[in-house]
Amino acid sequence: MRYKVRHSTEYYYGESVPLCHNLIHMSLRQTARQQLSSSELTITPLPSARHDFVDFFGNPTTWVCLQEPHDGLRVEAQSEVQVDVPAPADTPQTPWNDFAERLATDTSLYAQKEFTFASRLVELSRELAEYARPSFPPGRPLLACIEELTRRIYEEFFFDSSATTINTPVLEVLEHRRGVCQDFAHLEIGCLRSLGLAARYVSGYFATMPPPGQARIAGADRSHAWMSAYIPELGWVDFDPSKGTSVTDKHITIGWARDYEDVSPLRGVLVGGRRHSMIIGVDVEPLEPLVEGDDQRSGD
């Protein structure tokens, strides 16, 4: 599936800002199932300094500095991308508890093990492990366990954009059973890590279908997030707890890391402009007809 993705973030400061530094994670990452034919990040006003590099997790990252007084900032990422459906594979049979044990003891899995520890936005806890436990009977293959957990989160939690903020702890999401995709991704990551498994956060977009008979409204999309789990024999496999399924060719990846904080689209430190406003515009335009999928829930 081919897409044209536009993501713009605009800040209005209400007063002149003499100095502002930003760290941007908005350019798409090239992956095994995602080929970029173009990718461009535009910053207005033109920054005094700009550096494009790859961060610790391999994500494209841009550092910019604006040091002339300015009263607003616009960052726009535009790319054309080909996304494939993940290739079907044999269903691996390794029991989840065998793999958790291997992760704990096999030093050659050090790179995967990084994603088994708590991170700032994903604390580990017994409550999370207990929530996940019914889907993880000893001996059941890991893949089946995660599929079931993903489905359960989808069924048992409510989408509610007013229930959480960026800093809402995962345990609070578990308690109130409400949140948005970012919360559900963190929740599932926390569940897996609390069981000793490796899970990481994926930042990206989801291509939505307009209601039947209506035209697509440009700019009405939003950022999306899901998670990825390490499965022996398969490697990293993505699951989307806000859809209840594994990912499809409608999931477009920006990048991945331990949690949201590592890959938040735009981070900034500025002098002045304390009361700023932000406008986000995301537009995921399919360049070929989208096939009706199972994205039943609207709004997320």
């Binding site: 800040y11 961060d55 610790f56 030093t107 520890f117 948005v180 950022s223 900034g268 002098v271 002045g272």
Partner: protein
């Protein structure tokens, strides 16, 4: 002293052999102490304590209302170590530092230690000290660990072991320097005769290492010491080291990153910074890429480091190795990286993430010392032997829930060292902190150390936070010791520089307010002295109404009017009273502390003494009897002597650079405002006892002599006001202050030097014109018992002076005061 001291026999002692004899390397020292005798020793100890107080050597205790700037606790007895023994330790320390440097380069680079399984993933990836944004950095010369310290304990067999490694930004080398300076003054002959190795060569090496980090082709690099600020535990040391090493002491807000370069914000311009010696933990150094809630650092710093335009010591990310979990892996890491055996062992440490170690630890929990394996905030070690059965079970459960987060260490039956306490010698456990600095591709060890002792004979925890003390550490050389000192460089080439505009804006701001606060306190003292002079004067009883006017001006009182002298004294010295002196002195004292590296030692002593006398007065003079008023007066006279000394020093001993200008401008503005308000308070209303008030006014404004010389005994309001307001030749008049302020304003660095372009200068000019054109005699003429015109005139003068103060703040300090903050983030839905 030998006979005063009976070490606890259960453990080994530094000074005494098990058979009770003095160890050979202590003999000379102990002999000299015995010669001094007990009384002399006590007086030397008092002298040391006085030096510590006068030099303001302090450290801050957290979470304690009295913990701010606690005097430093130094024991008169140094720890003595023969150079042969120290050399052995040094060799081991150098190897350890090389190993840790190699490990840092690996952890932030190819990570072979992880890939080959030499260390488990937990040590890095579960470690908050591992800063992912620093991965891939290439610090200059391959040096990650420029400064390293190790805490050492001595084992029963006499060998040293490492209790912990300090790789973040090791503290204490400045305190050990200060310890040395004090002991060499208090025990000069012993210090000379024992052949103690000097510390200065170490600091010279450290300075060379830091200078070599500057980006290429930067001669005479600019190096700053980055401190978290005066509330940090070891702020005194930061200021002290900055001055000693010749670096500018800065806080994060003094620096800014532009064009990927780091600059110091000074009054004149932005000045390039080449090297940052950081005493801020690495994770707090750049809110953009590291811990976003901390503004102790500089946004954008990491990119400047990546670009190689600035070097930071220690390199960012070095704190990762401070985790005790590394200790058990050092022997195999040493083979992996250096192909050598580890020479200086660590105290036996078990990492619970290893299953066999975990089983051992759980089995022996009651005997071991349990610590967090990875950096966590504020967790003390737990001593198994101090725990009850149920506490042990709870601890075991905690460890089992997250084994990798804990290590256990074998308790060390460490040596005891003699300490002198109130004239008695006692023994304490101790830890020696040794310091190393990178030199080329190896390290040099400071020949000396900071030795810290426990606070009680049976205590195992060495913590300055908990009240333990410190010792100087003497490495006893065998030959003559060469004289090297950084304090008085004899032949070092001096780089000439003239009081330029390299004054950080924040410092200018602080100096300005130091001037204002000192003057404010002086004004309170002057008026108080005037009031107390009259309280003891029978003549005053004949002018009760006028007396009340004075007291009203001195005190901001609540419900009940203090009327008697003891009552007024009580208010003046009360800690919390808004009209008291304490508040005024506290304010300047706080600023003086921040400015430690900017004001002279003498200036600091004067202000410190006033502050201390005020605090003492709170205890001594709050409850005085009617007949002890003389004592209060004496105290005020002492204060005045202090203020005059400070003023004299500012006038005579400070170079006429920007520091002086801002300090003096603050003094003058405050003085002008004070005079205007005092005249207004005393003369706005016409009094029957006016002569009494005019006399008090002249005394408080320090102009009695001048007045009498001109007008003899004739006291006329208009003449008094003219002398205090408009007479440009009277150094206490408002006009005189203004003339000085105008002169300062004209000399400040600005884009346009034309007075018409600058509002502050315009304002000053306008005020001077007003003062010159005002008909003083006319406005002093009372109408219906009031001088409304005088009152209006004086409030306008005070307001305009405040306006000048505000304009100076806006034009010169503003960018220092603006703190950065975070941009709101976008959420994913």
């Amino acid at each position: 002293m030998a006979e005063l001291y009976v070490p606890r026999l259960a453990t080994q002692d530094e000074m005494t052999s098990p058979d009770g004899s003095v160890r050979p390397h202590w003999k000379q020292f102990v002999g000299m102490l015995d010669e001094l005798g007990r009384d002399e020793l006590r007086s030397r100890w008092d002298m040391a304590r006085r030096l510590i107080r006068e030099n303001g050597i302090t450290h801050n205790i957290y979470d304690n209302p009295d913990g701010f700037s606690r005097p430093w606790n130094l024991d008169l007895l140094p720890l003595l170590l023969p150079v042969s023994q120290w050399q052995q330790v040094s060799d081991g320390l150098v190897q350890r530092a090389r190993l840790l440097n190699a490990l840092l380069a690996d952890v932030y680079g190819p990570a072979t230690s992880l890939a080959r399984g030499v260390i488990p993933a937990e040590l890095i990836y579960a470690n908050r000290g591992f800063l992912r944004p620093c991965h891939g950095h290439r610090p200059p010369l391959g040096q990650w660990l420029h400064l390293y310290a190790a805490d050492l304990v001595r084992c029963p067999d006499g060998s040293f072991q490492v209790l912990s490694d300090r790789t973040q930004n090791p503290s204490g080398s400045g305190y050990s320097l200060e310890n040395r300076i004090i002991l060499s003054r208090v025990l000069p002959s012993m210090f000379e005769e024992c052949g103690v190795l000097r510390l200065a060569p170490f600091f010279i090496a450290m300075r060379q290492t830091l200078a070599a980090l500057a980006p290429a082709n930067r001669e005479n690099p600019s190096i700053v010491l980055l401190t978290p600020g005066p509330y940090n535990e070891t702020y005194f040391e930061h200021a002290y080291l900055a001055r000693y090493l010749g670096y500018t002491l800065v806080q994060g807000q003094d620096l800014t990153v532009r064009d990927c370069r780091v600059y110091l914000k000074t009054l004149g311009s932005l000045q390039r910074v080449d090297v940052i010696l950081r005493r801020v933990d690495d994770n707090f150094c750049d809110p953009l890429e590291l811990y976003s809630q901390s503004f102790l650092g500089v946004p954008g710093l990491l990119q400047a480091i990546r670009e190689g335009t600035v070097a930071v010591a220690n390199a960012m990310g070095s704190g990762v190795l401070q985790a005790p979990a590394f200790l058990p892996f050092l022997p195999s890491l040493c083979r992996h990286f250096l192909d050598e055996e580890l020479m200086l062992p660590s105290v036996q440490t078990w990492w619970c993430g290893d299953r066999e170690s975990l089983a051992y630890v759980l089995n022996d929990l009651a005997r071991l010392v349990i610590k967090p394996a990875l950096p966590t905030r504020g967790t003390d070690p737990v001593f198994g032997h101090e725990l009850s059965r149920s506490d042990l079970d709870a601890l075991a459960a905690k460890i089992q829930a997250q084994p990798y987060a804990y290590v256990a260490q074998e308790p060390v039956e460490s040596f005891m060292a003699p300490v002198l306490l109130n004239g008695d010698v006692q023994s304490r456990r101790f830890v020696v902190r040794a310091y190393l600095a990178a030199v080329d591709d190896s390290y040099t060890v400071m020949p000396g150390a900071l030795t810290r002792v426990t606070d009680a004979p049976d205590s195992f925890v060495v913590s300055l936070q908990r009240g333990g003390g410190s010792k100087d550490t003497w490495i006893l050389g065998q030959g003559p010791v060469s004289e090297v000192s950084l304090l008085a460089p004899a032949s070092a080439p001096v780089v000439l520089s003239r009081g330029g505009s390299d004054l950080p804006s924040r410092v200018a701001d602080d100096l300005f307010w130091l001037g204002r606060y000192v003057q404010r306190a002086e004004a309170v003292v002057r008026l108080a002295r005037c009031v107390f002079n009259r309280l003891t004067d029978p003549h005053a009883l004949e002018n009760p109404q006028a007396m009340q006017v004075l007291i009203d001006e001195l005190l901001i009182h609540g419900d009940s009017l203090p009327a008697t002298a003891p009552e007024i004294a009580a208010v003046m010295f009360a800690a919390a009273d808004p009209s008291g002196l304490r508040r005024a002195t506290n304010e300047f004292h706080t600023l003086a502390r921040v400015l430690r590296d900017r004001i002279s030692v003498d200036a600091w002593r004067i202000l410190e003494a006033i502050e201390r006398q005020t605090a003492d007065s709170n205890n001594e003079l709050r409850q005085v009897e009617e007949d002890q008023i003389d004592k209060v007066l004496d105290r005020f006279n002492q204060f005045m002597t202090g203020f005059l000394a400070f003023g004299g020093m500012a006038a005579d001993s400070m170079t006429r650079g920007l520091s002086w200008r801002f300090l003096d401008m603050g003094l003058r503005l405050e003085r002008g405002i004070g005079v205007a308000e005092l005249i207004r308070a005393l003369l706005a209303e016409e009094h029957a006892e006016e002569r009494f008030l005019l006399d008090a006014l002249l005394e408080t404004a320090d102009s009695s002599l001048t007045y009498r010389r001109r007008y003899l005994t004739q006291l006329e309001p208009a003449a008094v006001v003219d002398l205090l307001v408009a007479d440009e030749t009277n150094p206490r008049s408002i006009a005189y202050q203004l003339a000085g302020i105008e002169e300062h304003l004209a000399r400040l660095p600005r884009e346009s030097t034309h007075p018409q372009c600058n509002r502050d200068q315009q304002q000053a000019l306008q005020l001077r014109t007003t003062l010159r054109l005002t008909d003083v005699a006319a406005i002093c003429t009372p109408m219906h018992g009031r001088r409304d015109r005088l009152e209006l005139f004086l409030s306008e003068v005070a307001e305009q002076l405040e306006l000048i103060s505000k304009l100076v703040s806006q034009m010169f300090f503003n960018h220092a005061a603006v703190s950065p903050h975070l941009l709101g983030s976008e959420k994913a839905y």
